[in-house]
C-alpha cells in the first residue's frame, strides 16, 4: 500500500502554526507560550510512541492485537468522558464506559463490515484504528456534553426529583424529566 510520506520541511511548516500562536501570545502578553511549547513537545513524543506501536500492529496484522488496541482506546475515551464532568453519581463509570463502548463499536462495525466491505479483512488496522479513533472522538464529546447536562440538571432540579420520590416514584420515574433534557434541542 502506498502512503504519502511527509518531509521534514512539510512537518516544519505545520509546526510554524504553533510558533504563530506563541508569537501572538507574547504580543498580547497572554502568557500561554510556555504551555504551547510544552504541549507541542508532548504531542511530538506521544505521536512518535503511537507511531512505533502502530508500526508494530500494522506489521503483526492479527485481529486480537487490533481488538486489544481498540479496547484500550475505548477505555481511555470512557474514562476521559467521566473526568470532563465535575459531578459524579454511583455507577457513572459503568454507565459512561458502556455508552462509549456500545455507540462507537456499533458504528465502527457498521463502517467496517457494511460500508467498507471491499477491504481485505474486517480488522485491517489501517482502517479499523483510525475509524475507531474518529468515532471515539465524536462519541467522547457527545457523551461528555450529555453527561454534564444530565448531572447539572439533576443537581439544579433536585427539589423536583425529591418531590417525585416522596410521592412514591421509582428512581427512573423521578429522574425521567431531567434525564430527557440532554436529548432536547437548546
Amino acid at each position: 500500500m502506498d502512503y504519502l510520506q511527509l518531509s521534514y520541511v512539510q512537518v516544519g511548516f505545520a509546526s510554524l502554526l504553533i510558533l504563530v500562536n506563541a508569537a501572538i501570545s507574547i504580543w498580547l502578553r497572554l502568557g500561554l507560550e510556555r504551555s504551547l511549547l510544552v504541549a507541542s513537545f508532548r504531542t511530538i513524543v506521544q505521536l512518535l510512541l503511537i507511531g512505533l506501536i502502530l508500526q508494530w500492529v500494522f506489521q503483526f496484522d492479527q485481529w486480537y492485537v487490533v481488538i486489544g488496541i481498540l479496547v484500550i482506546m475505548t477505555m481511555i475515551a470512557g474514562v476521559t468522558a467521566v473526568q470532563r464532568n465535575d459531578r459524579r453519581y454511583p455507577g457513572i463509570w459503568l454507565d459512561t464506559i458502556l455508552s462509549v463502548w456500545v455507540s462507537s463499536w456499533a458504528i465502527t462495525a457498521f463502517a467496517l463490515l457494511i460500508v467498507l466491505n471491499g477491504i481485505d479483512k474486517w480488522y485491517q488496522p489501517q482502517y479499523a484504528i483510525p475509524l475507531m479513533g474518529m468515532m471515539l472522538g465524536n462519541t467522547l464529546n457527545g457523551i461528555s456534553v450529555g453527561l454534564s447536562t444530565f448531572t447539572e440538571t439533576a443537581y439544579t432540579r433536585n427539589d423536583e426529583i425529591e418531590t417525585m420520590l416522596t410521592l412514591g416514584a421509582t428512581r427512573w420515574e423521578a429522574i425521567w424529566g431531567p434525564s430527557a433534557m440532554p436529548c432536547k434541542p437548546a
Binding site: 425529591e162 418531590t163 417525585m164 416522596t166 410521592l167 412514591g168 416514584a169 421509582t170
Partner: protein
C-alpha cells in the same frame, strides 16, 4: 397499644463525613392513630430524623421497618407512597393545580389508586375554596396556597403516615389554620388508621395538633410528653 407500629426505627444513627454525630442512636415507633409532634432548636436533627423515616436519606446504621419488615430495595418507592414526606418549601410542577394533583397517579406505586376530583373539592370546601382553584396555574399561587396543594397532593394518595416538616413555618395565621384543618380532615377520615409526625418550632401548635410530643436535642429524642398526661 395493641396494634403493631406502622413504622419503626431502631438504633438509627448518622454522622457527618468528618465523624460529627448528627443523629444519636434513636428509637421511634409510629402506631395507627398517633399524632406525634417533634419540637427542638434548628440544627437539632429533626429534619434528618424525618428524612430518614421517609427513606430519603441513606441510613448509616440502624434499621427502618414498615409493618415489622425492613425497608430496602424495590420496597422503597411503595413505602414512600405510604409514608409521605412534606417539606417546608413545597415544590409544584409546571401546569395547573389539578395537573399537579393528578401527577402521583401516573406513578407505578400509585397504580391502584385513582384521582378523585369530588374528594378534592370536598376538602377545598372545608377550607372555604371552590373548584375554580383547581384550574389556577401554579405560578399564580401564594406560598401558602402552594403548601395546601402539596398537602392535598400528599393526602389524596391515602398515606398511612404523613411526615410534616414545618409545613406552616412560612405561613400566616389563616393559612396555618387551613393546613391544620386539612391534616385533621384527612386524619379523621382515616378512622384512626393513619398517623402523622409533625415537626414544628411552635410549642402552641405542637400542643394544638399533636397528642404526643418529643423534644429533639443534639440529635437525640430526649423527652416524651403525652398531651393527655400533661392535662
Amino acid at each position: 397499644m395493641n396494634a403493631p407500629p406502622i413504622i419503626g426505627i431502631q438504633n438509627l444513627s448518622r454522622q457527618s463525613e468528618d465523624g460529627v454525630p448528627l443523629l444519636s442512636p434513636t428509637q421511634l415507633d409510629v402506631f395507627p392513630g398517633n399524632r406525634l409532634g417533634i419540637v427542638g432548636e434548628s440544627g437539632s436533627g429533626k429534619t434528618l430524623l424525618l428524612r430518614s423515616l421517609a427513606a430519603l436519606d441513606p441510613i448509616q446504621s440502624g434499621e427502618l421497618r414498615f409493618h415489622g419488615r425492613a425497608v430496602h430495595g424495590n420496597q422503597v418507592p411503595p413505602y414512600r407512597a405510604s409514608v409521605v414526606y412534606l417539606p417546608q418549601r413545597p415544590v409544584l410542577f409546571e401546569g395547573t393545580v389539578e395537573s399537579n394533583l393528578q401527577l402521583p397517579f401516573q406513578l407505578k406505586s400509585n397504580a391502584d389508586r385513582q384521582y378523585d376530583q369530588r374528594r378534592i373539592e370536598s376538602w377545598l370546601e372545608a377550607l372555604g375554596r371552590n373548584a375554580t382553584f383547581l384550574s389556577k396555574n401554579q405560578e399564580n399561587l401564594s406560598g401558602g396556597e402552594m403548601q395546601i396543594v402539596a398537602l392535598l397532593r400528599a393526602i389524596q394518595i391515602e398515606p398511612q403516615v404523613l411526615l410534616l416538616d414545618e409545613p406552616t413555618a412560612a405561613l400566616d395565621a389563616g393559612l396555618t389554620t387551613s393546613v391544620e384543618r386539612l391534616v385533621d380532615c384527612w386524619f379523621n377520615e382515616s378512622k384512626q388508621q393513619a398517623a402523622f409526625v409533625w415537626i414544628t418550632h411552635s410549642m402552641n401548635q405542637a400542643e394544638r395538633v399533636c397528642d404526643t410530643l418529643y423534644l429533639m436535642d443534639s440529635g437525640r429524642l430526649r423527652l416524651h410528653i403525652s398531651n393527655q398526661e400533661a392535662d
